[in-house]
């Protein structure tokens, strides 16, 4: 990225907002142990369901645990699940999309129908089914979300490959006798990465939403682990006496996912700009 591009990126207030939100979430996740003064698990029965105060900035939950500390540690779960699930989905999805788009014919048909079938299941429901089959754990949540997300990247990659493969430089490479893997990875793939990066950024946020939903239903991250969805589940029972628990946990999800969606948008615009210049 050149200096020109950095300046251009920061020219829009929306992109600055995106950067602040995403960097903030990453910072909290990385330095969670250093920043927080309370352990997210230590219970204090003399300070149960306390409203926000100078001792507990965001208040405490029904076991007297410090909410700020739990939310900051919760960002780790969200980010790990989001990045791992989307990383997995992008790897498998884009390989399938490359294979489908480049081969066409029967392999293309088989892959795309499978992708259609997975897409037919509403995301949370598919994840619920897979979680039920594999048992609840952090790894299963990641796998469950990744399987549901994989079709999006397969379709995106395939459509990009289809539009690139007829272009002159690919035809030329073929005419020069380049082998298929070489054509795919050195000529086709570089044109696919931009749209995938933009889409993946948005989907890290969407994966966080699914994880929060699953944990809220009690079928995701299990207590006492501090995850945003699980904190919301705990707070829901005390909504009338301790509304701050639900409010702050949900706000953390909302701001992080908003940051990632804005970031995805910004990356897409930037790619458009670059193609417009070249």
């Amino acid at each position: 990225m050149s200096g020109y591009m950095v300046r251009d990126f920061l020219s829009s207030p929306l992109r600055i907002l995106a950067l602040v939100l995403v960097a903030g979430a990453l910072f909290l996740a990385i330095f969670a142990d250093v920043i927080t003064t309370y352990s997210p698990y230590s219970q204090d029965y003399d300070a149960v369901l306390e409203p926000p105060s100078s001792a507990h900035w965001l208040g405490t939950d029904h076991l007297g645990r410090d909410l700020l500390s739990r939310i900051i540690h919760g960002s780790r779960i969200a980010i790990v699940v989001g990045i791992a699930a989307v990383g997995f989905a992008v790897t498998v999805g884009s390989l399938l999309g490359l294979a489908a788009g480049y081969s066409r014919g029967i392999l293309d048909e088989a892959i795309m129908r499978l992708v259609d079938a997975i897409l037919a299941f509403p995301s949370v429901l598919l994840a619920l089914g897979i979680m039920a089959a594999l048992g609840p754990s952090l790894t299963t949540i990641i796998i469950a979300i990744a399987i549901g997300d994989m079709p999006v990247f397969a379709r995106l990659t395939r459509s990009q490959v289809l539009s690139v493969r007829e272009r002159d430089f690919v035809v030329a490479a073929q005419a020069m006798g380049a082998r298929v893997p070489r054509i795919i990875f050195s000529h086709v793939w570089p044109h696919v990465t931009g749209p995938i990066l933009a889409m993946a950024t948005l989907h890290v946020g969407l994966a966080m939403l699914t994880e929060a939903g699953l944990s809220f239903l009690g079928l995701g991250v299990q207590p006492p682990t501090a995850s945003w969805g699980a904190i919301l589940r705990g707070g829901f029972g005390y909504i009338e006496v301790a509304p701050w628990i639900s409010f702050f946990a949900g706000l953390a999800i909302f701001l992080t996912v908003l940051g990632l969606s804005l970031m995805g948008d910004a990356i897409r615009d930037l790619r458009d700009l670059r193609t417009a210049i070249s």
């Binding site: 299941f121 969407l206 929060a212 909504i239 949900g250």
Partner: protein, 316 residues
């Protein structure tokens, strides 16, 4: 048209077959023995009763035979019985469909009512602060967890202001006013994810249409800008918008699961969640198959309407 229609229908059938296989396999690999789960509640395991039940449930047969037994039952309208309540699954699904359909329909309506004016405003004032604000609003709608918004709505409108009942369900035909009042907050909570995507689509397609020749013609006739946009531009821009809404059936149903739990609605989403908690595998299988079938049908209908309305679409 007819060639496209047949091809599209055939594809849908292939996908539906794959969907049924996936549903079957997920439930097949579920941990725990179905027969043991059924007998478990009655106390200790009697080996003879256990074997008899396995025989009756067809658990001793090979996988392919079991799939065939299940799917031929489904195709003849026999979805089997719930492992938990022992009731017929078909009627149980029908009873639970009402709340979910009302919720989804109201959410889509709210999403359209919000998305069209906001999207049009963003397109008309593109690259201004109006456009930026609509982007934040749209992405905010995508980013906000529906179930969290639902909880916050309960807090504000039911607990603090006491304007609306916090939760519950009354069928539309029993008491329409109360039914809509009860469904208002859940529908708003569910609508956020939908209007986010729809706003973006309205903006994009209105922007595209605004560059067309007939808009320039309309403007040169001297009619008001308002009329140009709402009579000439929006009408042609709405086709992709209809598609986007149709294709979001899956998102709507996914969001319905958590929203139904928050508002204690006796719908299909909550049924799916409950059936996992109670290890009611036959019910889970049926709900998953039903949801996927609804999504596939919605996609199919959307595609066909689109092909019908837009004569440029021809596949061969």
């Amino acid at each position: 048209m007819s060639r496209y229609l047949w091809r599209r229908l055939l594809t849908a059938l292939v996908v539906l077959f794959l969907v049924s296989v996936i549903t079957f396999l997920i439930v097949f690999v579920l941990p725990g023995d179905t027969a043991a789960a059924v007998l478990g509640e009655d106390g200790g395991l009697d080996p003879e009763a256990y074997e008899a039940l396995r025989e009756r449930l067809g658990l001793n047969k090979p996988l392919a035979v079991r799939y065939f037994d299940w799917i031929s039952g489904v195709l003849t309208g026999d979805l089997g019985v719930s492992l938990r309540t022992k009731e017929e699954i078909g009627p149980a699904l029908l009873r639970r469909a009402g709340p979910t359909f009302q919720l989804a329909f109201m959410a889509m309506l709210i999403a359209i009512i919000i998305a069209v004016p906001v999207g049009v405003a963003a397109a008309v004032h593109h690259n201004t602060w109006v456009d930026a604000a609509s982007t934040v609003f749209a992405l905010g709608g995508i980013a906000i967890p529906g179930f969290w918004l639902g909880i916050m709505l309960i807090l504000v409108f039911a607990v603090w202001l006491r304007w609306l009942p916090p939760s519950g369900y009354v069928p539309l035909w029993e008491d329409p006013v109360q039914s809509i009042r009860l469904m208002l907050m859940p529908a708003v909570a569910l609508a956020t994810a939908l209007f986010g995507v729809t706003i973006r689509q309205v903006r994009t397609s209105v922007l595209e249409v605004l560059g067309e020749d007939y808009i320039i013609t309309a403007r040169s006739k001297g009619i008001t800008e308002r009329r140009v946009i709402y009579r000439h531009a929006l009408r042609n821009a709405l086709l992709p918008v209809v598609t986007v809404i149709g294709l979001q059936m899956g998102h709507t149903l996914a969001g319905a699961a958590t929203v139904e739990v928050v508002f204690s609605l006796p719908g299909l989403g909550r049924l799916a969640v409950d059936s996992i908690f109670f290890r009611d595998f036959t019910m889970l299988q049926a709900v998953m198959l039903l949801f996927a079938t609804i999504v596939l049908t919605a996609n199919l209908v959307t595609d066909l309407i689109y092909a019908r309305l837009d004569p440029r679409i021809r596949y061969d």
